[in-house]
């Protein structure tokens, strides 16, 4: 093999556009969030787990869910971290600003949890077990970012 002393790299910026359908369950959840700033889960009639995100089937019991139940905009941190490692956010193509707080949040009345931003970058304060409350935007579009972030309460 003849050697070239040059290492050639070929750059390529991939840009892909997608259109994801919400489906009936997410549509209903986000409609309620947009119109009234309220959060709903859906209950399994068998194990009584309340799922967020809402879904048609309880994967554990494999039965249809059906009963929409309101859940609180307050909950508890099940997991928490302050992200300090910068990376390129594929949603924008730009570096996501760091540091920022993140949590795994279980809302009161829900059995499952959700990942979301938490408005706190102090490692000493952002701890598992802390109570949090959703900061819901005044001007809502009907998507996950209608919850701007969570904030520590108590």
């Amino acid at each position: 093999m003849a050697k070239t002393d040059e290492v050639i790299r070929v750059p390529f910026l991939m840009k892909m556009e997608y259109r994801y359908a919400l489906g009936a369950y997410a549509s209903r959840f986000f409609q309620e969030l947009k119109d009234h700033g309220r959060l709903f889960g859906i209950r399994c009639p068998e194990c009584e787990r309340v799922y967020i995100p809402p879904r048609p089937v309880c994967g554990i019991c494999f039965v249809e869910t059906g009963e929409w139940v309101p859940v609180s905009d307050e909950g508890v941190l099940v997991g928490a971290t302050v992200v300090r490692l910068p990376f390129i956010d594929p949603m924008t193509g730009e570096r996501r600003p760091v540091p920022y707080g993140m949590g795994i949040i279980r809302l009161d009345g829900a059995s499952t949890a959700m990942y979301h931003f938490v408005d706190e970058t102090d490692d000493a304060k952002l701890k598992v077990g802390r109570r949090v409350k959703a900061r819901i935007r005044a001007n809502r579009k009907g998507n996950m970012r209608d919850i701007e972030c969570f904030e520590l309460v108590d």
């Binding site: 050639i8 790299r9 070929v10 259109r19 947009k34 119109d35 009234h36 579009k141």
Partner: protein, 148 residues
């Protein structure tokens, strides 16, 4: 639950952007470097004799490393083409060009002037950019060779 007011958009649109940077490897680097000098390098397997563009450093059929490079082209023959309707430059077609002496085809653009038609078997030649940096885009396009 209520469904008054305007409904939520049933579609979430996302544009995903991820930057990549591909290492060309020794054989393809040889090819790309050659383009700076308007030369096409093919790899030649010393077992099956296949001359490949872009070059390979390994013949997957004979399962042998490839050590030979030969120059091919610059003229070639259109083996296949597809016009690109709705493209920004009318008359540009996407073509597979088999460079003279090569056994495989190079995908590239074919630039037609008004009155010309792409044809399988048509003889073509590369149109080079003035400034070349070792990229397949150093070849601006291929163009039909005038008959005779």
């Amino acid at each position: 639950m209520s469904a008054n007011s305007n409904s939520v958009d049933p579609i979430v649109e996302q544009k995903i952007q991820i930057p990549y940077s591909y290492v060309a490897g020794p054989a393809v680097s040889r090819f790309l470097t050659g383009l700076k000098d308007c030369v096409f390098y093919a790899s030649e397997c010393d077992a099956c004799g296949r001359k490949t563009v872009p070059p390979l450093s390994f013949c997957g059929r004979c399962w042998k490393p490839i050590r030979e490079f030969v120059t091919v082209g610059p003229r070639g023959v259109v083996e296949s083409f597809a016009s690109m309707p709705g493209g920004e430059t009318p008359g540009v077609v996407y073509a597979l060009v088999r460079l003279r002496g090569a056994d495989t085809c190079l995908p590239h653009l074919l630039d037609l002037v008004p009155g010309q038609k792409a044809q399988i078997g048509a003889e073509v030649e590369p149109v080079w950019n003035e400034e070349r940096e070792g990229s397949v885009l150093d070849i601006r396009s291929f163009r039909l060779r005038q008959a005779g």
